[in-house]
Symmetry: C2
Subunit: 304 residues, 2 copies
């Protein structure tokens, strides 16, 4: 193994020094011996083990430790009810997506999951089937529709679909700085498990760059851009909750999404419609272009 792959040892460090460091780690691990909850004990011991392995791998300097403390402090200070910089940090380090991967093992033909991101909010407004979730948020109208079924194809009536997305300037409502709710809603499938709504054709946008996570990405030469997407959270009794996005086929950012959220099965054809093309529900869009996409959602059984 290369030194980078081997967290337990460090080249160029004397055996005596390594023994001192290992002894300290053992004392810290032993401090969790009396943890009543076995799962908590496992998590804390593993966290400590990997934290110390990181410190020893990179031989972290005291100045770098201080920079780390300052970075986390800045992340904490920016975080409030509308801005979750810790989630953004988790997302950009792939921690969120790895947690999704661990908890959503592939199941038959079920729709794949991806990250929830920092912009989901409870208590979105409800819209009727065929309703408009944009509530005035700017962007090209997009007709989104499909079905919700189990993996055996059984239609799921009354499934709850939460959708949320950015406007065509790349902002979610919680970033507007007022209390507007826009481009965020929930609806329920009909008796045949069908759903449809008007949203906005997704466009690429950068994750918020004005905080410590944005500065981190700049420092490491990474783009803050997210591939264009539309968020879904789908729940139905007896089925595994699905948190996912759909992405836009042809988007040049698909291969370098800043939060590692893209999965091939979630890339969909957003079909551009010329101005004047009749709309599915007869809505008059005047001289505007619009798009349409089909997304059939397949839920895995609960507990799978």
């Amino acid at each position: 193994m290369s030194p980078e792959n081997d967290p337990g040892t460090t080249s160029g460090v004397s055996p005596e020094q390594q023994a001192r460091e290992a002894e300290l780690l053992d004392r810290v691990l032993a401090s969790f011996d009396a943890t009543p909850d076995a799962r908590m004990k496992q998590i804390m011991r593993s966290a400590v083990r990997h934290l110390h392995a990181f410190l020893r791998d990179v031989r972290l300097s005291e100045q770098e430790w201080k920079q780390g403390i300052d970075f986390l402090t800045a992340v904490g200070h920016l975080t409030d009810e509308r801005r979750q910089e810790f989630v953004l940090l988790s997302d950009t380090l792939g921690v969120s997506m790895q947690t999704v991967a661990i908890n959503n093992g592939a199941y038959a033909e079920a729709t794949e999951a991806t990250v929830v991101g920092p912009f989901f909010m409870q208590d979105s407004p409800e819209v009727e089937l065929g309703g408009d979730i944009s509530f005035g948020a700017a962007g090209e109208p997009c007709w989104v529709g499909g079905t919700v079924t189990g993996v055996d194809g059984t239609a799921l009536p009354g499934a709850r679909i939460e959708v949320w997305q950015a406007d065509d300037q790349g902002f979610y409502d919680v970033q507007y700085g007022d209390d507007r709710v826009a481009a965020r809603a929930h609806l329920f499938t009909d008796e045949q498990g069908r759903y449809a709504f008007w949203g906005i054709t997704p466009t690429p946008y950068p994750i918020p760059q004005d905080g410590p996570v944005g500065r981190m990405l700049e420092t490491v030469g990474r783009s803050p851009m997210r591939a264009s997407h539309l968020h879904f959270m789908v729940t139905a009794a007896g089925f595994r909750r699905l948190v996912t996005h759909i992405f836009v086929r042809g988007d040049e950012l698909l291969g370098r999404d800043s939060v590692f959220g893209v999965k091939e099965s979630l890339v969909k054809d957003f079909l551009e419609q010329a101005a004047g093309t009749p709309t599915p529900d007869g809505r008059d869009l005047g001289a505007r272009t619009w798009s349409r996409v089909r997304f059939d959602i397949v839920l895995a059984p609960a507990g799978s």
Copy 2:
């Protein structure tokens, strides 16, 4: 190796699932390929590798991930200019002490280092040699004195000694809730490298328990108590900066300090003096008892 010791693999997880998780990790690691600064690249890649290994080791659930985000958010919200909950977290997980260990390899007869803790403040008042650093903080008077030398025994005149400590109720001045400065000062050694001051006999105290770190310690069944100690930071041109404490021989907490800061070489004899015992500088303490301790400080060369 036991599963806990082997971060790269996880028992009971299918090879296909493991491959998916490894592929995601590889994508995240590759996102740092363009980092201009080689050291930053090394640190970020190692941090990501260990974070993901932790997630995969414990198979972190999405609910546990959320609890982690909420925990860090609470740590961030409590942190301000006078309360550094991230440092407290680092201290209680042994991260601070391991960083000290990595950066302060044993050097000949030099005095050993320990954690800086969350209570150091810049801009302490200066006191004369023999002055009183307590500034009214409650506690038994303690005469502290000794020398500052290099490892060859050369006296170091003009060395700067920062000292700070809790009062006998376990509180530092920054915890008083007002702007008082107390039990915190700096002074300089004389031409023979000698120093002395009046402080307070150290007593045990709990680290702040009213925040998320305190709740974490409670959850895992750990005591928040710190062994009695007095903080030092010593600087002299041409020598490695020393951040350390002295501890009180006989303190029953020496073996279970909540931040793992105790080193045997830093345990000193605090000699209790009966009321009326003449003081070194003739100060009249009336009917009060007092103590005295000798602490000879030996600095390692800069760059060692």
